[in-house]
């Protein structure tokens, strides 16, 4: 049965073929064909047999549809246009030879417009196989049976169309023209139109390309933001190194030699301790983020390899992060220094100043050293920036043409 289905599928492709063959026949209004029924009956039966023979020779599988058609052979008296619908197997070979002639006929029809009645009738006949095709799909019946019924339906249903011949003609003519242009445009010398279409397509492609590749893309925005932040980071690196150096120098100057004048330090420095701590955190945060950007820390394997090979940027980021944690760990002491004037006796009991301040000074010194060292590492290779390298690779590679076709399919 699969073979039978395949044959019916093949047969379904056939109906459009007789369209041009029918044009050569004397075109008759559908109602008139019933009047000529007795005269053409025998001839058409014979032609039908011949075509069945030809089809059987060509395609034995067509037998599958045969019994179904013969089952309704009782209504063959109404077969007025059946030979016309069965003509294609005979016409097929001729049509290859006369394809250009037919096409020229179509073009002539196009030129003549809806003036000739014959053309209109021919177009009515053209319409019928299309209805047949739809009903084939819907009802999924054998072709011959459908031919019978559809022809009958068409002859009964067509009468209104001659009344509207002026309107039906352009509708009918548009079909072959569209088909011709799609399949064989070169034979119709329609090169100008196709060329124009191609050029318009090229123009569309160009506009699409320009549309997809604007002058200022999101990638450029990302890169510019990243570059701006890198510049800000460079300023922060330098400012942080200078500020931490100034801070530790001030602390050691106020604390005196061997931290002997810590009360003087608390007295002078208590108003500066918290602002400097806050500023130090902000600068350390920006610097750490900037150096992490340069290392591309999110790529853990790459970052680890850089740490192991002691690359300057990896070391700088490590030093900045360590300095950040050390700085944060002194928040409590900084707040204690900040509140020196308000809670002098409770927060700073006499004798404990050295015990509380010595780690704080040491940590500040270490932070200053880390920050200075990291700044040196950064300024040795200021151009190293892996994140920017990744951002620069964010470009769209257009899919290959064959892939596009696959996607369309």
């Amino acid at each position: 049965m699969d073979s039978g289905d395949s044959k019916t599928m093949r047969l379904r492709e056939l109906p459009p073929l007789p369209q041009r063959g029918q044009r050569a026949l004397p075109t008759l209004p559908s109602q008139d064909t019933s009047g000529q029924l007795p005269a053409s009956k025998h001839k058409k039966k014979r032609v039908r047999k011949e075509t069945n023979m030809v089809d059987d020779m060509d395609d034995p599988g067509m037998e599958m549809g045969g019994p179904a058609s013969r089952r309704v052979s009782g209504i063959r008296q109404q077969l007025t246009l059946e030979p016309m619908s069965d003509a294609p197997p005979q016409r097929r070979k001729k049509k290859k030879k006369t394809a250009t002639i037919d096409l020229e006929d179509d073009q002539a029809d196009l030129v003549n417009g809806d003036a000739a009645d014959q053309t209109n009738d021919g177009e009515e006949v053209v319409k019928k196989p299309r209805k047949k095709k739809k009903s084939n799909v819907i009802e999924s019946q054998p072709l011959d049976e459908l031919d019978l019924e559809e022809d009958d339906i068409a002859t009964d249903a067509l009468p209104p169309i001659p009344q509207h011949s002026l309107f039906s003609a352009p509708q009918g003519q548009s079909l072959p023209v569209r088909k011709v242009f799609v399949e064989r445009n070169k034979h119709f010398h329609a090169t100008e139109r196709t060329d124009r279409r191609q050029t318009s397509d090229q123009r569309d492609n160009m506009t699409d390309f320009q549309h997809t590749q604007p002058l200022w893309t999101t990638r450029d925005v990302s890169v510019s933001v990243h570059t701006g932040f890198r510049v800000l980071g460079l300023y922060c690196h330098g400012f942080l190194a200078g500020f931490s150096a100034w801070n530790i120098v001030v602390v050691y100057m106020l604390a005196g030699q061997h931290l002997t004048t810590l009360s003087n330090l608390l007295e002078q420095y208590h108003s500066l301790a918290y602002p400097s701590q806050s500023l130090l955190y902000m600068l350390l945060a920006i610097s750490t983020v900037a150096t992490f950007d340069r290392v591309n820390l999110a790529k853990s394997t790459m970052a680890l390899r850089e740490f192991i090979t002691l690359e300057p940027m990896a070391l700088a980021s490590f030093l900045y992060f360590s300095a950040l944690v050390l700085c944060l760990s002194q928040q409590m002491t900084s707040d204690r220094i900040n509140l020196y004037s308000s809670f002098n006796t409770t927060l700073w009991p006499p004798g404990l100043e050295h015990q509380l301040l010595h780690p704080w000074v040491t940590v500040n010194l270490v932070v200053a050293l880390f920050v200075g060292l990291a700044w040196i590492f950064v300024v040795i290779h200021p151009e190293t920036d892996y994140t920017e390298g990744y951002l620069m690779t964010m470009e769209t590679e257009p899919p290959k043409p064959e892939d596009k076709l696959e996607m369309a399919a």
Partner: protein, 161 residues
């Protein structure tokens, strides 16, 4: 396709929220003249973090990669940000609640304990990692390959299936 103007605007909003976050983290200790000032600053900061997470999630949902169905690839690429954002938001809310609770009656006095100090260090350290990952992700969201069909996406799709 993501429009450049829209992306610039969204990026500006994100970086503004990040800058506000950094400002509050840095200088909120100085702005404690009245407890209500810190309360308002902390509430806005937490809302800003939440907004930033929502924005980045919406941007992820807007990508062609997500709409195609390669969610796992997006999550694999940006999971660090999502984890650190959630962690930072949690730590921030905890720290803010603790500090405001301690300073509500008397704002300018010594409140630090070892636990608060440890939470402070963790919150501020997570903040720096959050800034880095968020800025990086926000910049990577401008990748045109995330928003349209491309060979890269086809390769990723072929690898996923």
């Amino acid at each position: 396709m993501l429009q450049t103007g829209n992306y610039s605007l969204v990026l500006l909003v994100q970086l503004t929220l990040l800058a506000y976050d950094l400002f509050v983290n840095s200088f909120s200790e100085l702005l404690r003249g009245a407890p209500v000032i810190q309360l308002v600053l902390f509430i806005i900061q937490d809302i800003a973090i939440l907004f930033n997470i929502i924005i980045i999630l919406l941007m992820l949902f807007n990508t062609y990669v997500f709409q195609v169905g390669l969610v796992s690839r997006l999550l694999q690429k940006f999971r660090a940000l999502l984890i650190f954002s959630a962690l930072y938001l949690t730590l921030s809310i905890c720290f803010h609640c603790w500090v405001v609770n301690l300073r509500w009656l008397q704002s300018n006095h010594f409140v630090w304990t070892d636990g608060l100090q440890a939470l402070f260090v963790f919150q501020r350290t997570a903040a720096v990692l959050y800034y880095y990952l968020y800025k990086r992700t926000a910049e990577f969201m401008g990748d045109p390959r995330l928003y349209e069909d491309s060979q890269w996406l086809r390769d990723a799709f072929a690898r996923a299936h």
